[in-house]
Symmetry: C3
Subunit: 282 residues, 3 copies
Amino acid sequence: VITFLSDFGCDDEFVGVCHGVIAKRCPGAHVIDITHGVPRHDIRAGALMLRAALDYLPAAVHLAVVDPGVGMEQPSAQGVAARRAIALAPATPDQLLVGPDNGLLWLAAEQLGGARRAADIARSPERLEPVSATFHGRDVFAPVAAALACGKALEDVGEPIDAEGLCRLELPHAHVRDGALCTHVLVVDRYGNLTLDASAEQLAELGVVRGAELELLHAEDRAGGERASTVAVYGRTFGDAPAGAAVLHEDSRRMLALAVNRASAAALLRVAPGDELIVRAP
Amino acid sequence: VITFLSDFGCDDEFVGVCHGVIAKRCPGAHVIDITHGVPRHDIRAGALMLRAALDYLPAAVHLAVVDPGVGMEQPSAQGVAARRAIALAPATPDQLLVGPDNGLLWLAAEQLGGARRAADIARSPERLEPVSATFHGRDVFAPVAAALACGKALEDVGEPIDAEGLCRLELPHAHVRDGALCTHVLVVDRYGNLTLDASAEQLAELGVVRGAELELLHAEDRAGGERASTVAVYGRTFGDAPAGAAVLHEDSRRMLALAVNRASAAALLRVAPGDELIVRAP
Amino acid sequence: VITFLSDFGCDDEFVGVCHGVIAKRCPGAHVIDITHGVPRHDIRAGALMLRAALDYLPAAVHLAVVDPGVGMEQPSAQGVAARRAIALAPATPDQLLVGPDNGLLWLAAEQLGGARRAADIARSPERLEPVSATFHGRDVFAPVAAALACGKALEDVGEPIDAEGLCRLELPHAHVRDGALCTHVLVVDRYGNLTLDASAEQLAELGVVRGAELELLHAEDRAGGERASTVAVYGRTFGDAPAGAAVLHEDSRRMLALAVNRASAAALLRVAPGDELIVRAP
């Protein structure tokens, strides 16, 4: 089994081409598309989706490509870093990860017990020559994933590198301060729903129970000294509040999420990924 | 074979996660994605798509998830009903349906001869524990569909319930009145094309032949007493009219549909799903 | 193996229905979706995507449907031509192409050595009766592709026709004139990036090297006598220029492409597919 996640979208032939490469190199492989709708170049959103899916996937080679630094030999004018191409074996057996070394694979590797062995696959004997400047998914990652799915060893597809030196992805950590929960916005989806870095357990520690009213407050002052804020119900689902009202709930990834029935929580609180939100009982 | 229809969209990992659950539980299953682009929470559109696809699908477990009432224990503040989770066996052998009991499966069950046996699967031994409040596709429906595809019996995946008590989906019925055909808009697609609840046979009964000009009239007065209306040609395809002109034709589901070449029929007639349209020879 | 490309999009059940037809007719077939996001009715974009994918696909029956002339018995009011439905065998063995005879298959056939044999499949014994007016993908193309994938011969699925008489797709040709490269816009993608009909080799012939600054100029005067133009760097990837700056680079299809970092090259140069752009060293 190969699982496949990317930010390629569905408008072009890119996903199909990678499937073709895999079908040529490892005809028996069963490919499960996790999603190709990761927001373009959003490494953190891709890493969170991959981690969220992992528990529900069979043992597999996990191929993931969100790759703003593809083809760069040095950092770009916008500060995007050049990156290595890697395959890695985590502590959990029968699982392998293939993709760019830009943090995309980091949360998944952690969830699988941490990276144990890693290989630099930029010059893999499995790669398609000539390697293009912009589509390593096709030319490097997919053929290496296919080779691994067909039984090749990590040592056979690249040069061993130190698993300690891989690019990490650090997420902020929600914490309690002065009786309030300080959380951070990890992802804003297309409906304006917010995924936070906090868990239902952390709310419970504050003594908050289902049905309680909470205040959510942007941690930063805006020009003029005001902070965006809203009142939200702590519910089980969207439906636990009237249209236009905010509901804080545990989402399907077991993370706290804020949704506004038929409206955008992001717009209401004027937040972007990375912003801090303070949750407290009024 | 498992077929899979939902309103999950392609931006998130939700579809891939369900594929993963199925691959883990029933590795040999062949999953055919019907679509995951059903408009969000639009049970009727999903039910119509599933019915439209059914004749062209192999014998299968049909997994369908459009589920505004997921996780609710009582009706929501917006009046969305709580619903059961079900699996059902219709009169046609070798076909099974799995999904929420909110009408989504009803048209498909009817097309397969009607539901004969049904089971409540909310507490299925196949479910993934703990069942989340918002993602029964992953936690209940997919694992049950996988178990059925791998040969488990309906009795083994849930508690038997009375098939007579399932949630129905009633569609309006086109009918002839005063020499005109009274139809209803079932679906408005993203191009503004309208699917109507009438058939080519019903037009033929009125003596309308291909190439005829027809008048289409919104059944309801607008403020001021005017009704939106248009003239349409009764054609075979879109191409049978100049740009901007309306064509009434039989669509690929064998239902009458109204399209305006390079424009929106919905905007022209100011209609929404459920509205009545009167079709008559001028 | 069957590969499948279309402009059906993902919002409806159309792609899934074709998969269903294939699974019924040839249960062992492995279907690789190249893309279903070809811009609606854009034959040239579809033909270019199919050709771009071909080198990376296994030997297969290639099913492609972008079909503005579906169901027409004569040219439409908009001048869209009626077309035949065809299957063809190119010079390369173990490859077959199935689709409308409107040019969509032409570039792929050329890449596979040219069409050697062809069959008109409109009345194929494999077709689903009654054939609808608007969905030959389901009723004609998919069942014929399935039959071919299951081993039927071209002669068994349709009436032989002269492969010389197939509908061609002519692309413009970039050429050097007065020391400048005259190119044409083949495709504009959703980000406003332009695919041109020129190769890196043609730029090299002009003596242009990586890192050089180039002028790009719309070949046609606008009202008032001005031509839209921009300066672009000849780079390896997007990242080789600051935000807002234009980069000419070789894309993953090995064609020259123009991108503007975080903006639209099409808007900057006011170009549409087919327009001529002049590239020259300033």
